[in-house]
């Protein structure tokens, strides 16, 4: 396969990035746009950071099914198609271990981190299937942002760890279903280690940004945290045809954390 010029590789394709106003989502939106895709940034908050302006902003709550219906109608109405769905929006839910996590916290985290990805995958398939006659055949890609907390037990709060474990398996089931139905839609999960984003704001406030980054970085074999763009590159790869034989796969981008034996939990005692 001859790879197209980077700036036109995804031209004509439409991508939705949930949580695209900040962090990993913003970096992914910028890279998808740079590769030629039309990007919809679907987020609760409008982008304000340096990476904003990658795409059209649509106010969206991933936990609300009505919001998904409205978003899909909007995108199919305006852009007329859907090719790429990045289910990235997520919250940590704050500290919480098995003894301190409340039912309320559990349900809030599941609603965004697990049900939000479920709804995002479901409506992605609906939208991609509607990208039909008269338009080039669909080559859909769903990228679900899980976490190393979806692989191991010591990398996140209790409710978050369960939700990310659900996303890992859901992604495989979605992949197998789309393959069985011959939809030409792939689905994969990404499992980041520590990435320097606003999700760590409470830690930055407690320790200072540089010290906090060093503290989390030291827990990675590679000795540092990731920048959001490093995750964006992986999401771009999974969104594009470069990964056309990958479906149901899990990609850890974690500076080596899950490759070997971890000396300490990533978590400060909570």
């Amino acid at each position: 396969m001859v790879l197209a010029d980077m700036s036109s590789e995804l031209s004509g394709r439409v991508a939705i990035v949930t949580g695209g106003a900040s962090g990993i989502g913003a970096a992914s939106a910028a890279l998808l746009a740079a590769a030629g895709a039309t990007v919809i940034v679907a987020d609760l908050q409008e982008a304000g950071g340096p990476e904003s302006g990658a795409g059209r902003f649509v106010a969206h709550d991933v936990a609300s099914e009505d919001s998904w219906k409205a978003l899909l109608a909007d995108v199919l109405g305006r852009e007329g198609r859907l090719d790429i769905m990045v289910n990235n929006a997520g919250i940590s839910g704050g500290p919480g271990n098995i003894e301190t996590t409340t039912v309320e916290n559990w349900q809030q985290v599941q609603a965004i981190d697990s049900e939000g990805v479920f709804l995002g995958s479901k409506y992605a398939i609906e939208g991609m299937k509607k990208t039909g006659p008269g338009k080039p055949a669909i080559k859909g890609s769903i990228v679900n942002v899980s976490s190393i907390a979806g692989l191991i037990g010591g990398a996140g709060p209790t409710a978050y760890t369960a939700a990310k474990g659900a996303v890992r398996l859901m992604s495989k089931s979605v992949a197998l279903y789309c393959a069985e139905q011959k939809y030409d839609i792939r689905c994969n999960s990404v499992h980041p280690g520590g990435v320097d984003t606003a999700i760590f704001n409470p830690l930055w406030q407690a320790m200072g940004h540089e010290q906090g980054k060093a503290f989390i970085g030291a827990r990675h074999p590679i000795g540092r945290m990731s920048e959001p763009s490093e995750l964006g590159e992986i999401i771009l790869f999974l969104a594009s045809d470069r990964s056309s034989f990958m479906t149901g796969a899990e990609i850890a981008a974690d500076g080596g954390i899950t490759a070997g034996l971890m000396r300490r939990s990533l978590l400060a005692p909570s």
């Binding site: 271990n97 559990w106 599941q110 474990g165």
Partner: protein, 252 residues
């Protein structure tokens, strides 16, 4: 010496299938079994049949107060809590396209919120007992996806990582409480009975499931119960946060 000498075990889903088979082994190995289930008739009947070392408490795993009451009833009846089996669960077939949000939430509530609440509610009493062992039933579908069990496999994936999170927390806190997950293949219990009736092509439902397993048959509830018994007993004291697969070779 019996393998569970005097240990008190609370079993959600204890009225049927894997939970019921485990309750029988617990009593047979000198332990006390508290069967906790929303199926009162079946649970009470089994507890009576098992005699003085068994007891039944009604439980709805999605309600935290119901779990707290079950733990309190256990320590009141038998004086302590050493073991917890989270076996209550529902098996439902659906796909990413036909599953509704309500259905996704219902399955995840019973299978994963229910297991979370079981762990959370039991830890206090286990600390008082000087330690304990929690066994969470996930599934092979907590390890591998399935096109037609989307919500179920998501809920079992949650149980897999939840188990590791609980194990590491208890280890860090030096509670002497272990927590492991069990991943059965298809086991011949009431849960899968409807599927055994559904013919698939020229195969019976049973044959189509048997065929998935290299051993060429379905598992028996007792076979999973023996793995759980090991995890509840002091024979497994160096195992925590681990995945115990019992699947006739399915994931090999």
């Amino acid at each position: 010496m019996p393998r569970l000498d005097g240990k008190v075990v609370l079993l959600s889903g204890g009225a049927s299938g894997i939970g019921a088979a485990t309750a029988r082994l617990v009593v047979g190995e000198g332990g006390k079994a508290v069967l906790a289930d929303r199926d009162e008739a079946k649970g009470r009947a089994l507890a009576e049949a098992l005699g003085a070392a068994a007891h039944f408490v009604p439980l709805d795993v999605v309600q935290e107060p119901s779990w707290q009451a079950a733990v309190a009833a256990t320590t009141e009846k038998f004086g302590a809590l050493h073991g917890l089996l989270n076996a209550a669960g529902v098996g439902v077939r659906n796909t990413i396209e036909d599953c509704t949000l309500e259905e996704y939430r219902r399955i995840n509530d019973i299978n994963s919120l229910g297991t979370f609440l079981g762990c959370k509610s039991a830890i206090g009493a286990m600390k008082e007992a000087g330690g304990g062992s929690i066994v969470n039933i996930s599934s092979v579908l907590g390890l591998r996806g399935a096109a037609h069990a989307m919500a179920y496999s998501a809920s079992k994936g949650a149980v897999r990582t939840l188990t590791k999170n609980v194990a590491l927390h208890c280890a860090q806190m030096k509670y002497n409480i272990r927590c492991n997950s069990v991943h059965p293949g298809y086991i011949d219990t009431p849960m899968i009975a409807p599927r055994l009736e559904q013919n698939a092509g020229n195969m019976t439902g049973r044959q189509s499931l048997e065929e998935l397993h290299p051993l060429g048959r379905l598992g028996r509830a007792e076979e999973v119960a023996h793995m759980i018994l090991f995890l509840l007993s002091n024979e497994s004291t160096f195992s925590t946060g681990s995945e115990f697969v019992c699947d006739g070779g399915l994931t090999a």
